[in-house]
């Protein structure tokens, strides 16, 4: 089966971040492959290793995001496509899905995978939007994938249980990081990635965003708490008391 994984470069959310004049300020170098996308790449690699096939990746981002494509190639993906946008271009989910839909017009894949959300915005919309634009059946929040003949069996984490969904191909699936633990690229993988093809082209027209970020604010802070000291029995006695459990 032929897979294409849509990947995003995101700021490392565990890095120090401040707000300056309503804008987020952080070390521009602290960027990573979105963890949910990394799981999608991993799953595609595992499925194609067992069943044959290919794994491409596609990324929308500024020039420097090429390193994130190389990361996926180092993990084992075969080919990359880079839709290049100027640094600091604001794209909402609708715009991202529109650009990706344009990209997929020129290719044919059995399965398109995306992360279920991006670690920085947590919007979780682009996958479903892309499926709708391409007219593909889809499933979201997958925690497991298997190939059965020419169908894909998705284990989806739903509200009250795991839904086992059978999708025909072509289809689209958004992946949870609960699906697997993405491999760390080997040195050989990193070296090999440098020789793999990356097709890079500037985006001709940036779609207008229907949703805009006006600015960033700190979270409302919680009232400071306190430790309950003492031996376990004393701690428990005081806890039961302050919680007024009776």
């Amino acid at each position: 089966m032929k897979f294409c994984v849509c990947i995003k470069q995101v700021p490392d959310v565990t890095a120090p971040i401040q707000i300056r004049a309503g804008e987020l300020s952080m070390d521009a170098g602290r960027v990573v492959l979105n963890a949910y996308d990394a799981s999608a790449v991993e799953e595609a690699l595992v499925l194609t290793a067992d069943n044959d096939g290919e794994v491409d990746v596609v990324l929308i981002g500024p020039e420097r995001a090429t390193e994130t494509i190389r990361k996926a190639l180092a993990m084992g993906a075969d080919r990359g496509a880079h839709l290049v946008v100027p640094e600091d271009t604001e794209l909402d989910s609708a715009a991202v899905s529109q650009l990706l839909a344009g990209h997929f017009k020129d290719y044919s894949y059995d399965v398109i995978l995306t992360g279920k959300q991006a670690q920085d915005t947590d919007a979780g919309l682009a996958g479903g939007m892309l499926a709708e634009r391409l007219g593909l059946p889809y499933a979201t929040n997958a925690v497991g994938l298997a190939i059965e003949g020419d169908q894909l069996v998705v284990t989806r984490q739903g509200d009250t249980g795991q839904e086992i969904i059978v999708l025909p191909t072509p289809c689209l699936v958004t992946c949870s990081n609960d699906m697997n633990n993405p491999r760390i690229p080997s040195l050989k993988g990193v070296m090999g990635a440098k020789k793999k093809p990356v097709d890079s082209a500037p985006v001709a027209e940036i779609p207008e965003a229907s949703v805009r970020v006006l600015g960033y604010e700190p979270l409302h802070t919680r009232e400071p708490g306190r430790f309950i000291e003492g031996e376990p029995a004393e701690q428990v006695a005081e806890l039961v008391n302050v919680l007024e459990l009776s």
């Binding site: 609708a94 979780g124 969904i165 609960d178 006006l214 979270l219 306190r226 376990p232 428990v236």
Partner: protein
């Protein structure tokens, strides 16, 4: 007159708490706009909850009744919501941010040409647009976002608003819906590990959450017993879902569920930002952890530095005692 529409999920025969929260918010927004507050229910027997929705302020209830809604499948949900939106012509649709909603929100937005604000902590009308605060960067910050357009879809995190009764009379409109299952391209083979019928984590008033400090079956039993004496739902960190000790439906956090109970007790959880992203809105947070430097203590109302294997047995016994006295 414009309409603010709230999407309602039915669980165990009643509207979910998160649904009543968004209905209450829809009513407040409608009041402010002089608009109609309406609700939409997709369920095998959708009209059964109409009275309950009127009690929370729905002046109009759109019902779509079909057995197919007994289990979540995205295609029929999309078709039904599209039909209701075409009929009701709302300016805003608010949804509880459940997995079922996350599954359809993007596709529905494309289908209806709507702008969409997902997973928000607050939402209001402002200067003719819809503005929302959304947690971003693993809920380290809030982004103030604005959407404009004739139709805006908004999904709201559980616990962001209070469900408040506001009794009114509701006109019920049954939307004719027939779904030809033969046109379904995907099939739902089965649902495994179902927790349907129990208290949903996002709806729970008390949550006991277990982390990697819970190392074995004995520890798990202590967590279950504590939850039992408190009438709590059981949550967990990702670490113990990964190890297979707790089901993925229990996971709280960025990947998992958002909870906002009156009382959250974290047991052997370090408090990684991705976990805290799903529980920092709890009213009281109790943390039990052997490491005084564990980041969970930064958000805890009450911190207990201690071994859960020593603290929980005493805690369970003490709670049993006070409950016995109270009863």
């Amino acid at each position: 007159m414009s309409t603010i529409l709230a999407s309602v999920a039915v669980q165990n025969g009643s509207p979910s708490r998160a649904s009543l929260e968004v209905l209450s918010r829809a009513r407040q927004i409608a009041d402010g706009q002089g608009a109609t507050c309406a609700a939409v229910v997709l369920s095998p027997d959708a009209s059964a909850v109409a009275d309950e929705l009127a009690r929370y302020g729905a002046q109009k209830v759109y019902t779509v009744s079909d057995p197919i809604f007994a289990r979540h499948i995205n295609t029929p949900v999309l078709t039904a919501l599209e039909a209701v939106i075409a009929e009701a012509q709302p300016s805003i649709v608010v949804f509880p941010s459940s997995e079922g909603v996350k599954d359809v929100l993007g596709a529905l937005a494309v289908r209806t040409g709507a702008a969409v604000l997902p997973d928000v902590a607050s939402v209001e009308m402002k200067d003719g647009g819809v503005e929302a605060l959304r947690p971003v960067m693993a809920a380290k910050f809030m982004a103030r976002t604005r959407a404009e357009g004739d139709l805006v879809l908004v999904s709201v995190r559980a616990g962001s608003y209070e469900a408040v009764e506001a009794p009114t009379e509701a006109a019920v409109e049954e939307i004719v819906f027939s779904f030809d299952e033969a046109t379904l391209r995907q099939t739902l083979r089965e649902v495994v590990g179902s927790t349907a019928g129990t208290v949903d984590l996002s709806d729970a008033q008390v949550v006991v959450a277990a982390g990697r400090g819970v190392k074995d079956e004995a520890g798990k039993q202590l967590v279950e017993e504590l939850a039992d004496v408190l009438g709590a739902a059981i949550g967990s960190s990702r670490a113990v879902v990964e190890s297979g000790m707790f089901p993925a439906t229990a996971q709280i956090g960025q990947t998992g569920k958002v909870v906002s109970p009156d009382l959250y007790i974290g047991v052997g959880i370090s408090g990684a930002i991705q976990h805290v992203a799903g529980m920092s809105n709890s009213r009281i947070i109790v943390a039990i952890n052997t490491n005084p430097d564990a980041p969970i203590f930064d958000v805890a109302t009450y911190g207990i530095v201690g071994d859960l294997y020593k603290v929980l047995p005493i805690l369970i016994e003490e709670i049993k005692k006070v409950k016995a006295v109270a009863a």
